[in-house]
Symmetry: C2
Subunit: 208 residues, 2 copies
């Protein structure tokens, strides 16, 4: 380091240089840093809480989605029974939503306890990278679960084009509505996690 | 941490120690910076080229997927005709793959021309954020397209549980194989873009 300040356009410092060794404890942050940090931390906690609410809502809407009805085909009354666990995509959505909720509860507990003790929510660069990785993986997983479920749900709605499969959602509208609402909440959770990923990157790029 | 060389008013210091050392080596010698920088840039270009190849492969496998066959139900021969454009999910996959390929070609052209001129591939922090945003959005979009298509494809394979829908993939295995291969390449493109996102974040967190 020449000027004792951050050099302007030095090439890329190898990633390892930044990630590698956490030598110094970071708890020495003074009041000005804490004020600036505080806002971002509170924002993170609010977004995480909101995301927890939406993913739990998606989960509970999906697991309560079942309906029995009848459909009339060629004069015959055929009993129809629909339940979320009949479709693997819906099971997948439930699994991912539950995992996301657990991840968020864990993060909230950790950052909550750190906030209470007055220390910053993210303890080190490695911790920051870990949170980034978790948020990123779960954002992708939610996108996957939401898309997979919505393509099955859209088949239920429209039937399969070019086949004789009927529109299941006419007799089973209660079931289909719940599934659709669950999918909407899943995508909203994904959106919130994507914002959290950007906040994580902002944190990582602001610390040096 | 080297005493007396810490920059003042830095709240959290952990990466500084390592960074300081890096900076010394970086700014004391000119060529090594270019070399280190060059490696990361070449790595980016290689990953982007690979991702371009996989997404174009996914695209071309999908748009060539069609087959005609017959299925025997209750003694009747029913003609079956399958084509990728019969499913909205497959159309979605084609659209997203094409968009990703365009994005990658654009990025490669820009960074290629910059490399030829000897300037760094990413010109500024804002440019870095733009690339991060693009890669992140397209990674999520590929995850969405792949999941959506694979849930439709899996319905074709297994039939819909608890309904009489048959396994379409027995008579149409050529079609189903192409679709499956296309989906695998889509997920691989998504994986490569997710790695590129991490590289973008590393770049952003190394620049200040």
């Amino acid at each position: 380091m020449i000027n004792g300040k951050n050099p302007p356009d030095v090439g890329i410092q190898l990633p390892e240089s930044k990630m590698g060794i956490d030598t110094v404890t970071d708890s020495s942050s003074g009041p000005p840093v804490r004020n600036v940090n505080g806002k971002a931390q509170v924002m993170q906690v609010i977004l995480r809480t909101l995301c927890l609410v939406t993913s739990v809502t998606a989960l509970s809407l999906m697991v309560t989605a079942k309906q029995a009805s009848t459909i009339t085909v060629l004069g015959f009354n055929i009993p129809l029974h629909s339940k979320w666990s009949f479709s693997r995509s819906f099971e997948y959505l439930v699994g991912i939503s539950a995992a996301v909720a657990l991840h968020l509860i864990l993060q909230l507990l950790i950052s909550g306890s750190r906030l209470v003790r007055g220390s910053p929510t993210i303890s080190s660069r490695n911790h920051g990278w870990l949170i980034f990785a978790g948020d990123q993986v779960f954002a992708l997983a939610l996108m996957s679960a939401g898309s997979s479920a919505s393509s099955v749900s859209s088949l239920n709605h429209t039937g399969i084009r070019h086949t004789a499969l009927p529109n299941f959602c006419k007799p089973l509208h209660h079931f289909c509505d719940r599934v659709s609402a669950s999918i909407v909440f899943t995508f909203f959770s994904c959106f919130l996690l994507a914002i959290l990923v950007v906040l994580d990157v902002l944190w990582l790029s602001s610390k040096h």
